[in-house]
C-alpha cells in the first residue's frame, strides 16, 4: 500500500538521505534497520510529510503523496509514532489521546480510549495527570497509544520499543503484530533488531542514507549487509 522509491532528503546542503526505497503492505510488517545517523528517521519523517523530499516518490494506495503536508497525510490513514515520543507535556494523558483521535470519527473516540487503556493500564490510572509527569517508558506507551487513536491503515513507528522494559517491549511489539494481522500496514524502525526481526515480514537496511539491502525477515538473519549496517562502518573497513 505504501511505495517509496529513491527518496532524497536534504538538510540545507547536507544530503541526509540519498536513495532510500522501501515499501509497506497491508497486513505486513516492514522493518527498517541501520546505524545511528543512517537516515531512518529522516526517511520516515519525509514519508509522513514533515520534510519535503528533494526527489523521489512516495505513493500511498496508488496515489502520489510526495511532499504532501503532514496533516493531510494523516487523513489518508497514516499515523506516526515519532522518535523521542513527542508527547504534549502540559496536556493530560487523556487529552493527549484525544488529540491523537483528531481525524477519527467522533463516535470511535471512547472505544479507542478503552482499547488503549486496556493495553496500558498505567495510562488509565494516570489519565487525568499531565503527560509530562509520566516516566520515560510510560510516555512511550502514550505515544504508541496516541497513534492507535487515529485508527490508521498504515502505521509508521520510529523505535517504538525505546525505553520500554522487556515485558512492555513484548506487549508493544505483540500488538504491532496483532495489528498487522488485522490488515494494517506497518513500517517500523527498530534498534532492537532481535525483537524486531521476530515479528517482521520484510527487512530494509539503510546505510549512509541509502537502501543497501532488502529482503525477507527470514533471509535477514545471517546477511552480511545487516552486520555491516548494525556494526557501522568500522566493520566495513575491516571487511
Amino acid at each position: 500500500m505504501l511505495e517509496v522509491t529513491d527518496l532524497h532528503v536534504n538538510y540545507g546542503p547536507v544530503n541526509a538521505v540519498h536513495g532510500v526505497s522501501f515499501a509497506a503492505e497491508a497486513g505486513k510488517i516492514t522493518l527498517v534497520l541501520g546505524a545511528n545517523g543512517a537516515g531512518k528517521t529522516t526517511s520516515l519523517r519525509a514519508v509522513a510529510g514533515f520534510h519535503k523530499p528533494k526527489s523521489g516518490r512516495v505513493v500511498l494506495d496508488g496515489q502520489e503523496i510526495t511532499g504532501t503536508s503532514a496533516h493531510k497525510v494523516v487523513r489518508k490513514g497514516m499515523a506516526l509514532v515519532p522518535e523521542g515520543r513527542k508527547i504534549f507535556f502540559p496536556l493530560t494523558v487523556e487529552e493527549n489521546l484525544k488529540v491523537g483521535a483528531y481525524v477519527a470519527p467522533r463516535a470511535s473516540v471512547d472505544q479507542g480510549l478503552a482499547v488503549v487503556f486496556e493495553k496500558f493500564p498505567v495510562l488509565a490510572d494516570r489519565r487525568q495527570s499531565a503527560a509530562g509527569l509520566l516516566s520515560g517508558g510510560e510516555q512511550q506507551m502514550l505515544a504508541f497509544g496516541r497513534a492507535l487513536m487515529s485508527q490508521p491503515r498504515l502505521m509508521l513507528l520510529d523505535e517504538p520499543s525505546m525505553g520500554l522494559a522487556p515485558t512492555m517491549v513484548d506487549r508493544v511489539l505483540g500488538s504491532v503484530r496483532a495489528m498487522a494481522d488485522e490488515g494494517i500496514g506497518i513500517l517500523m524502525v527498530e534498534q532492537n533488531a532481535d525483537a524486531g526481526l521476530e515479528i517482521a515480514d520484510h527487512v530494509v537496511v539503510v546505510n549512509r542514507g541509502e537502501t543497501v539491502w532488502t529482503g525477507s525477515a527470514a533471509e535477514a538473519g545471517g546477511s552480511r549487509a545487516i552486520v555491516h549496517a548494525m556494526l557501522g562502518d568500522a566493520a566495513l573497513d575491516e571487511a
Binding site: G37, T41, V122, P166, T167, D170
Partner: protein
C-alpha cells in the same frame, strides 16, 4: 559471574550510602523506601518495569527531585540537605533519560560544560581532555556541529561524553544506550568497563538485560518504588519476582 563478585563488592569502601529514600508525588509513591550501598570500583545496574521509580531515584540521588524522606551519604558526607549543584562538585555526574543538550552550542561546547564546574586545570588540558573523550564516544567527526543537526543516537553519545569528561567518582546513567543498536551498545558497554578501570564507579539504569548482565557486577531490581531483588546479575535475572514483573516471556530473547 561468580559468587565472589558479591564478596568483592562487600569488601570495597562505601562510596554512596542510600538510606530509606522515598519520593512521593501526592498519591504516587514513585520511590518508596530504598536502602542500598554502592562501593567504589564497581558497575551497578538497576532494572525495573516502566514507572517503577528508577529515574526518580536518580533524581533524588542528585538532589534535583525533592524527596519525602531518607538520606544520602557520599564518601562519608551526608549531602541530604545540600543544594543540587553541590552534588556535581562532590564528584557525582549523571545523564538524563531524555537528551538535554544546548542546541545552539557546538557538540564540543556541550561536552565541555561537564568540565566547567570542576576544571581547575588550564584551558590546554581541557582541550586535550575533550578531544580524548570525543574520540572515545565516537563524536570527533561532528565536534563542531550543533546537536540539533545530529541523529538521536549521536546526541546520546554527546550526553555520555559530557557526563564523563569531569572524571566523576560516581557516574549515574539513565538509559545511556536507548536508541542504539546491539553493536553500538556493545561499544558503550566496553567503554563503561574502561571507565571502571579508570576509577569511575557507575550506577546504570537500563532496560537491555543482556547488556546489563554483561557489563554490571551487581544488579538491583525495582518495582513500585521498592527494591525487589539485588545481587549478582545471574541471580537477579533468575529471581522469580524479577522474572514475573520485568522479563515476561521475552526473558529468553533479552537475557
Amino acid at each position: 559471574m561468580a559468587e565472589n563478585t558479591v564478596e568483592e563488592t562487600r569488601r570495597g569502601r562505601p562510596l554512596l550510602e542510600v538510606d530509606d529514600v522515598a519520593v512521593h508525588f501526592g498519591g504516587v509513591k514513585a520511590v518508596d523506601g530504598i536502602t542500598l550501598e554502592l562501593r567504589a570500583g564497581h558497575i551497578y545496574g538497576v532494572l525495573g518495569p516502566n514507572g517503577s521509580g528508577k529515574s526518580t531515584l536518580l533524581g533524588a540521588m542528585t538532589r534535583l527531585t525533592p524527596m519525602t524522606r531518607g538520606s544520602f551519604v557520599f564518601e562519608g558526607n551526608d549531602y541530604t540537605r545540600r543544594p543540587a549543584r553541590t552534588v556535581h562538585h562532590m564528584g557525582i555526574a549523571r545523564t538524563f533519560q531524555t537528551v538535554r543538550l544546548l542546541d545552539d552550542r557546538s557538540v564540543r561546547d556541550n561536552i565541555l560544560l561537564g568540565q566547567d564546574t570542576l576544571a581547575k586545570a588550564g584551558r590546554k588540558d581541557a582541550d586535550a581532555r575533550v578531544d580524548e573523550v570525543m574520540e572515545r564516544v565516537g563524536v570527533t567527526a561532528v565536534a563542531r556541529m550543533r546537536p540539533d543537526e545530529l541523529s538521536y543516537g549521536m546526541q546520546r553519545r554527546v550526553e555520555f561524553a559530557r557526563a564523563i569528561i569531569g572524571r566523576p567518582r560516581l557516574l549515574l546513567l539513565d538509559e545511556p544506550t536507548a536508541g542504539m543498536n546491539s553493536s553500538e551498545r556493545e561499544e558503550i558497554g566496553a567503554l563503561m568497563k574502561q571507565l571502571l578501570d579508570e576509577g569511575i564507579t557507575q550506577f546504570i539504569v537500563e532496560h537491555d538485560v543482556q547488556m546489563m548482565v554483561d557489563t554490571c557486577d551487581y544488579l538491583f531490581a525495582m518495582n513500585f518504588g521498592k527494591l525487589i531483588a539485588e545481587g549478582t546479575p545471574a541471580a537477579v535475572v533468575k529471581h522469580p519476582a524479577v522474572q514475573e514483573a520485568y522479563l515476561g516471556k521475552g526473558a529468553g530473547t533479552h537475557a
